[in-house]
Assembly symmetry: C2
Homo-oligomer: 556 residues x 2
């Protein structure tokens, strides 16, 4: 493996308030990263143990999915105590050790904050449901039934069925956009905001460098509880929910994405700005206006630092035309906003399968994907195993753990297929993840993609990620520069990044065929030591190999 980052970098990172802009963030799903006590479940000590590997990739930060106290109905996205580490994952001391090791290696640490809802086991909800007059009575979204006993409106849970669950104590319904054991907090109540911000401060004081905010556009609902209008079939899409989910049949005007959220995000940002260099990335889930919301949340410097939408997390085929369209749409909507792009995460089918199952040269295609995401304008989230080119695991119904998959089986198989254990070494039990029985099986087909095997082969996907990350690090224009697209042949993406007088041309052949590309200017100088090697060039004409890429610079 390459050497760890030089310790000298730590200092520069710590003083750079703008470190997040263009940063590459490696997402760790703790349950599946590394188990150290052989209960089959990854833990914080396991993360700490594997951090040198993460640093060796050349990323800037880690985002750790929830490790807080939780009944684990939604695998930690149902928090019952925002300030405690779930015993399954370790202790606060383990967390402190993890953060110290990350900082020693020059890695920032971002943690997940699931503020939109709590677990129904959180003491706030246990109180709230007792009656209509307790201190926490208004901390969740309660509503009387309609005259016929049915829920107050037509809102649907993403995880299936009505978004309203009956409570026998209060004889009212409460709102849950996700599982019924994930009641939605009432952000219209200022006490709720105060309490959450105090919990966020707890972690800032403990040394975290930032946050990933789960479902950041779900914080507020419309207090009028208006019905969402139906959405015509031709307008529906499966960006944030599978095609078979009737959630997609509504235009979600009232159950989320309310304007009141902007003021809360400003409060949240003001808290972060009390600290030297804390940053946040928000998850925006909206199938109709995701990029516009990202623009609203990230424009200026007083809300989110950055957000990601689901545009590249859906199954819509990745083409040059599609990439240009999505990125340009965001640039137009938010010239001063900031996106964080992701192709895979713990909620969607791995793009190693989602986009690549039809591709003959899968490795070439996935390397091209890496080149693409690491050269676009924006920050980047990489999801553990993405750097190995892992495919979606095919699980039996009996192996399923995800309630979402159990609900919509078999046409939607849930999220377990992207949550199987990380594969470290080809000759250890369970690929080095655990000596116990893993909570999800290690798929047989991943055993040839382990990190140790790929580290030994220079043409592996893993080594390509490392080279591209180093390349990005050498050329600051990738992290901070503007972007301008140019026309190019079919399924070739061409754009220029520009930053402080440096211009970088990027030409990516997203097709599986060779492509000839005419450059508009003889002045482009090919960058040396390109991770894609030298590209044959006759005057202005490049001869790009399938999935090949070309980089050139020009001083302004």
């Amino acid at each position: 493996m390459p050497a760890e980052k030089a310790p000298g970098l730590v200092t520069s990172h710590e003083t750079d308030r703008d470190w997040w802009r263009g940063a590459v963030i490696y997402q760790i799903y703790p349950r599946s990263f590394q188990d150290t006590n052989n209960d089959g479940i990854g833990d914080l000590r396991g993360i700490t143990r594997r951090l040198p590997y993460v640093a060796s990739l050349g990323v800037d930060a880690i985002w750790v999915s929830p490790f807080f106290k939780s009944p684990m109905d939604d695998f930690g996205y149902d928090v019952s105590d925002y300030r405690a580490v779930d015993p399954m994952f370790g202790t606060l001391a383990d967390f402190d050790a993890m953060i110290a090791e990350a900082h020693r290696l020059g890695l920032k640490v971002m943690i997940d904050q699931v503020l939109s809802h709590t677990s129904d086991q959180h003491h706030w909800f246990r109180h709230s449901r007792m009656d209509k007059t307790n201190r926490y009575a208004d901390w969740y979204v309660w509503a009387d039934p309609k005259d016929d006993g049915t829920p107050p409106n037509n809102w649907l849970s993403i995880f299936g069925g009505s978004a309203w669950e009956w409570d026998t104590n209060r004889r009212q319904y409460y709102l849950h956009n996700f599982l019924k054991s994930q009641p939605d907090l009432n952000f219209h109540n200022p006490d709720v905001q105060e309490a959450l911000l105090a919990d966020v401060r707890f972690w800032l004081d403990r040394g975290v460098d930032g946050f990933r905010l789960d479902t950041v556009n779900f914080y507020f609902h419309s207090t009028g509880l208006e019905n969402n209008p139906p959405l015509a079939p031709e307008l529906r899409n499966a960006t944030i929910a599978p095609d078979v989910n009737p959630y997609n049949h509504q235009d979600h005007l009232y159950d989320k994405s309310q304007p009141e959220n902007l003021a809360f995000l400003e409060r949240f940002r003001a808290l972060l700005d009390e600290y030297p260099a804390a940053a946040a990335v928000g998850e925006v889930g909206d199938a109709q206006r995701g990029l516009q919301i990202v623009a609203d949340y990230t424009t200026g410097s007083d809300r989110m630092h950055m957000c990601y939408s689901f545009d590249f997390l859906s199954s819509t085929r990745l083409t040059a035309e599609r990439v240009r369209e999505v990125v340009q749409e965001f640039e137009d909507a938010a010239p001063t906003g900031w996106c964080c792009w992701a192709f895979s995460n713990h909620d969607v089918v791995r793009h190693g399968s989602r986009w690549a199952d039809h591709v003959v040269d899968r490795n070439g295609f996935l390397k091209m994907n890496a080149t693409l995401i690491l050269t676009l304008r924006g920050s980047v989230c990489l999801y553990q195993g993405e750097e190995l080119g892992l495919t979606e695991a095919v699980l039996d119904f009996e192996d399923l753990q995800d309630p979402y998959g159990i609900q919509f089986w078999p046409t939607f198989k849930g999220r377990d297929g992207c949550r199987t254990p990380m594969v470290w070494s080809h000759n250890e039990p369970n690929a080095g993840f655990s000596e116990g029985k893993p909570w999800l099986p290690v798929p047989y087909e991943h055993l040839t993609s382990t990190a140790d095997l790929q580290a030994e082969h220079d043409d592996s996907i893993l080594q390509h990620y490392r080279r591209m990350l180093a390349f990005r690090e050498r050329h600051q224009v990738f992290a901070k520069g503007s972007i301008a697209f140019a026309d190019a042949p079919d399924n070739v993406l061409m754009f220029v990044r520009e930053h402080q007088g440096t211009r970088m041309l990027v030409v990516i052949n997203m097709s599986d065929r060779p492509r000839s590309v005419e450059l508009d200017d003889k002045g482009w100088q090919a960058v040396e030591n390109s991770p894609h090697g030298d590209v044959p060039r006759e005057g202005d004409t490049l001869e790009l190999a399938p999935f090949g890429a070309f980089f050139a610079t020009m001083e302004a």
Copy 2:
């Protein structure tokens, strides 16, 4: 214990097509009656073993709750194969042995038929949900979503939430009046009726004497799928669903109790009439018009033999006024119909608690209840343990098994409290039910009410039931006679039964105070050997003890 019934009775029963009229039926809940293989779950061999006890009570028949193949989501009321015995309960050979032993003891055998819905594991449903064109596509109630993706109408499941569940294969909703794993069969499809009747015939050919039909008024829905109208709060009642259940907020005009059911019941009766003496009792669950439906279903001789409604299964306090009102209402609605009365069963809080928790002399009260139900006009269902005066078990949430209780906890604790194991002997493990860990705990407070202890005490509730059943057997007027109520002092119930020239006066003091009652006629001759002993009488004036009763005859 008293001797078994004389074998000679068997023959007379077998030839009496009218045996069910006025019969006393002992309900056995197999999971909780007697375990023989120590897996903590009662079984068919356990029933067979305990049948001599049942016969010793003096009842006419047993009704065995479902023992069919089932995933047991609703403890057997979700059948996946109508013709198979679930391995948990035994084999068809065990069933045959049970029926042979019952018949040897002079007991009729009625089994439960759950025809309104199947388990979602029944092969009919597994096929039906595959697509819209398979052979079973129309065997269940499928409907498209509304434009906004929500269910087609406002129908609610008794077990909580919408009565419609989304299916991802068909992208349609299916109807379930109970659990979502209990899809409702589409009785409008004649093939469904044929298939069910063939399954019913299977058991008739195997020798059963009759059936209890689960939720007999739920077979048909309105094909218009009209919304049920809301029900004004003052009209709501908790007869068939707990007070906290929003199911009670609707007037169930369209989701059940449709007129098409009468024709199906006639088909069903025609099948039974092919056999020498088969009879059926239907369960009618309707909070607004239960007695009217019972009248409709039992009037004449071509539908149900008898039905029971929930009027005496609710928590409405049992008073003389209430009894007279309910029984008279039914007599007026259906002079030729036939009711089956029950105070307890496997679905409701045991009346030993439901009505008796406020009573100081609980034993006296429960004996009076036995006297009452065994002297009213109608047949009778006794529920296992009722003859011991068992109270509702108080269970911890952790002990709950019933999904209905888990759903509506803590304000409605479900049905587990009436389903704890039968208590046979005070000095055996788990009161003789099982040497393994019972599926529900044996409540400590039941250990002083075991059958063996009560059999030794002449003044026990058990011995009172035996005496009353023998009394009823001696006086055929109780089984077959008409009924006419007379005015009586506060909380005293007075009525005359009359049959083939015999008139029997019954006076029951339902209050916990002594009552003086004037008789209207000096001709009433006190019956000798009354289970309530001799009642002091001065001329026309009876001096009834608290919970006392008086019986007198007069030849017409």
